[in-house]
Symmetry: C4
Subunit: 192 residues, 4 copies
């Protein structure tokens, strides 16, 4: 019963995060396609963040279904995850506004890295509740995506100072990896 409210609250926060990002698109002074094209980097930056927040919503959705009993620890770990994600609109705007300058792009990656760490902390706390169920622990423990993405974020942060294109490549790579919801979790769910 309590997990539902945490889910509803998280959904609310994620829905707002994903939507207020568009408030950063200032209406162009001119009324032609050229004026719009200048918003290009901001729109690209928005697409990135929309996909990432979408991925988090999607995975969060699967993860919370694993919760057996809610407690203060899970609530605070969930709030920690939401805290980092709540900074995404700011970093998205800065990265777009600066046309993918090194520091804003690195910060964007750092915030995503911190969100990924928080997600893993939440995941680990939920896995602990299933410590007796070895099939579940094994399935979740293999979580390659979860182990790979912080590494890729870190590379994206560092390469931001080399070229925004290389950094962007790694951001896109993480997105592609996470795109499909974790089949293993669905698998275990069906097994139950």
């Amino acid at each position: 019963m309590k997990a539902n409210r945490m889910e509803a609250f998280s959904d609310g926060v994620l829905a707002i995060i994903i939507t207020i990002m568009v408030l950063e698109f200032k209406v162009p002074e001119c009324h032609d396609w050229y004026a719009l094209s200048k918003l290009g980097p901001k729109i690209l930056s928005y697409i990135f963040s929309f996909v990432y927040v979408g991925i988090y919503w999607n995975n969060h959705h699967h993860l919370l279904h694993m919760v057996r009993t809610m407690n203060g620890r899970l609530m605070w770990l969930n709030l920690l995850l939401l805290f980092w994600l709540s900074l995404v609109p700011f970093t998205t705007a800065w990265m777009g506004e600066s046309r993918f300058a090194a520091t804003p792009t690195a910060l964007y990656g750092i915030i995503l890295l911190l969100a990924a760490f928080s997600y893993r902390l939440l995941q680990r706390a939920i896995i602990k509740q299933h410590s007796g169920d070895s099939s579940f622990v094994v399935a979740m423990g293999k979580d390659l995506k979860g182990k790979l993405s912080p590494l890729l974020y870190l590379i994206a942060v560092l390469t931001a100072y080399v070229s925004p294109w290389i950094s962007g490549f790694f951001f896109v790579l993480v997105a592609i990896i996470w795109f499909v919801p974790d089949k293993r979790i669905e698998h275990v769910l069906k097994g139950h």
Copy 2:
């Protein structure tokens, strides 16, 4: 169970989209009716978008009741629809600010066109889940509204460069067509 959360998340995003559009109404410097009248195009633009988002909410509502089993594909198609709709506040503001200039009006139509396509992709994916139920497929397959509106949006986009009045006429036409919720879907629902 999962469809509920997608519905709740979509409702959240649509509620925010519909509400943050009013943030574009800057408070007039003067305090008389004339100052307010200058906001006319923005208010008209807002009314359009309020009605469109209302229509989407309404139809989306009916559509999601058809979902049999949730999966990653449906989630991503739904997020694609929400992505295009999340751009509506920006295009609404630009169209209003520019007093229905050609390019902003065309862009407004393009975003609605892309939202309509995404809606149809989502619809088709949901219809597939009912492939055995011929009465359902037939009822949904006849969906004239859904086939007509992308065409009307396309005309509105093209005629934006002729006159905003002609373009506006087609936008109003789509709204009128969609106003009443699809009786056929309700029909099928009752039949079950």
Copy 3:
């Protein structure tokens, strides 16, 4: 089942309306109480709107419990109500910014008047669903508050051009009248 989603969507819109109004409080340049005191009219204006939206949420809550079957008509009447309420943050900001100048105050009253009319249309459509249940119709039909408040709003609109204090008095009067949730509706509910 469907009424729930309309309720959830309305709650979302009302929650956003009530919260985004504070975005109009621009941070003062100076950091003393005097700088804050200049925000006085804006804060007063916000308190008014917070109470009104709170009243609407409260009454809307009771009203939707009366819905027997959802249909397109109810959805659109509900959206019409939300449309007028969505303009409240703008009129609140204008009234506060103008320090209760005549026209902004009159517009504030007009929007509330239109919201009140929409509420009554929604109420009437829901009463119709109970046309066989005479006790319900009688209880709702006596709705003195609902009949009185549009009249008081009208007086507030007209007196805005005489003095903001007189106008404000009538706004406060409506708030006081509506403060307590309609006992009659609760009565009927308990009777069922």
Copy 4:
């Protein structure tokens, strides 16, 4: 049934409050770490408020589970609490913008003090519904946290004029005290 809607509405408002605060982070003009560092006080101010709103959400969550029957009084007390919390984004922005100047910091504490009082009023009204259940009343009556925090807020308000560091110390102290959800309430819940 009704308590659910109040919970959902409160969650919506809290989710929006916690998220719109980031809109105050204006994108820096320069694109380096130094430009970001200037946002330091704003980010610190945001972290404070995120934690406080998180605490309120958490405790509110436990509190509403105690509600036996909803009534107008509870609704209005809940709205009073939400009113004070809705002012948090403004005071957060002012405190951050002013780099913890005396008056903005004092105002921040005053708003939290008023929110704490409203919370206690709501709590007391809910306790009254359990007047027959002595174990519950005793457990809640001992509520040391709830008695201590208004006092600490008051000290933080007064010391804001001495030094922001002393004031900040007391704000942090309240946060630490409230961090863990009230075990006693959970205890009583399990006993039922």
